[in-house]
Amino acid sequence: MNSIFVNSKNVFLDTVNPKDYVQLDRVSTIYQSLKDSIKKPLKMILLYGKPGTGKSMFLTKLSLDLADTQNVFLYDTPILDESEFYKTLAQDVFETKYAGELNFTQFMKIVKDKNLNQVPVILLDEAQLYSEELMEKIRLLSDTRTLKFVIALHKTEKEDLIAKEHFQTRIWETIELENSLPTELKIYIQKKLMKANCFDTASMFNSKAVNKIYKLTHGNYRDTNKLLYGLFEIYSTYEKNNQLYSIKTNQISTKLIEMAAIHTGLIDA
């Protein structure tokens, strides 16, 4: 049987699993607004934020939640080749296999020919990796109103430019995801641990420890997961080496948080 520290460590493995989705008030509101936006006759929805703010998790959860009621297609890794992109969409959305090269004109013909009862939703993650040319084609596809795109991208200068050039004139919705606040971070950590029945370790996180974590990660979920994974790895090592007597076990040790931050590279020591 694994120790509580090993179990807690596994909770913070950096994976995109909708089951691990933690409902926080602010995040839930944003998620609900995204769900509502999909029902609206919008051509495109832009989801953006800094890396590690939960965009991928949002898209994954959205695809899972909408799968029962709507045709949803999630592409979490970008298809950079244009022909491959059209061929994948033709196959997944319109169930049309195409052997040779498929260009934009040919794909547009397929889109117009297939008269679907419901507008399929295509979720594109890491959209900043698509070329500007392909983004322009995606814009033109959304104009036909036969396809609805939800695009998730990092908020950088380049992405701002894309948003400006391609989406500004469209009827669209933008949703920004942000890092958590300290209070949200505490709930996030404790909920995540409690979901995995790690109640003992969840109770070890007092405000002081959470504030320290917040100071190091700035509320970024990915950094927090990484840090806490490292933290519980150190705890489990101490446990194996019978060194737990030297540290407090009723609350998270600040020293170990800092050690985890050094280990994960959040602190440059």
Binding site: E233, Y238, N241, K255, I262
Partner: protein
Amino acid sequence: MLNTRELEKRWLKYKIKTYIPHAIIFVSIIVIMTIISIFATSNTEKTPVIATKTEKHEKRKIVAIQSLQKEQNVSTQKEIVTAPVQTNIQQNTQVQTTTLTEDTKLTLSPSMNFMRRIQNEEQQPYYKVTSSVKKSTKKRKKVVQQATVEEEYMDIEQKSQVKKKTTNKAPITIVKKEPTSKPYKKQIITIERRDSQNDIKEIITRFKKNNNPALSLFVAKKYYELGNYEQAYNYALITNAINNDIEDSWLIFAKSLVKLNKRDMAIKTLKEYIKYSHSGNAKILLNDIQSGKFK
């Protein structure tokens, strides 16, 4: 498995690195505070420090000043006093020379009697300066009583060298009894060695060095006593410029003006000073000048 020892070392390095700026700030604050406090204390204690330094080197000069102040009165009594006292000294030195060995080292420490006396004088009314012969002898007794044991050693040693009677025994207790039992002896010795004009010059040079208003006031008083009213006026004016709260200085200033036939100016000055300080002595002097008692 993690190498926690290595990680702990890195953590320790990191902690030291993070504490360095705090330590620097803390140390620099302490240094700044210390410098500020040193400056603050040195500014407040500047005058007394200089005074004590100079007094260390010029202990004998201070004795001279004391004697100088009494010079007028002493000169009248000089012949009367010297005869019995000198015989006393001879008797005493005979006893003392037997007590002192050649190896006996005398340590001199600064005497603050001069400063104390000046302060005492400042509290006294102006008319005590022109005191009678009887009063001056009383004062002289006080001065002699205040003289330090070290001064006694010096005087006695000088005398003993003349007599050249030396033994190996050294009962110091006998010497210590001297200042109370034979007060007149020491005073005469110091008076004989000093010249009033030279002493005033010495005080003036000291005053030029440290700008101590007590010294300039003394010079002003001395000049006034010697009848050099112009110089008394000048030094009183200088003293007032340095510190305008010294009552004696204002009184000497006004009296010098009267003596220089500038009675109106003296009255005007005193009135201004009274308005400012409400000094009782200044009021008395003003009344005396106005009524013609003081000319």
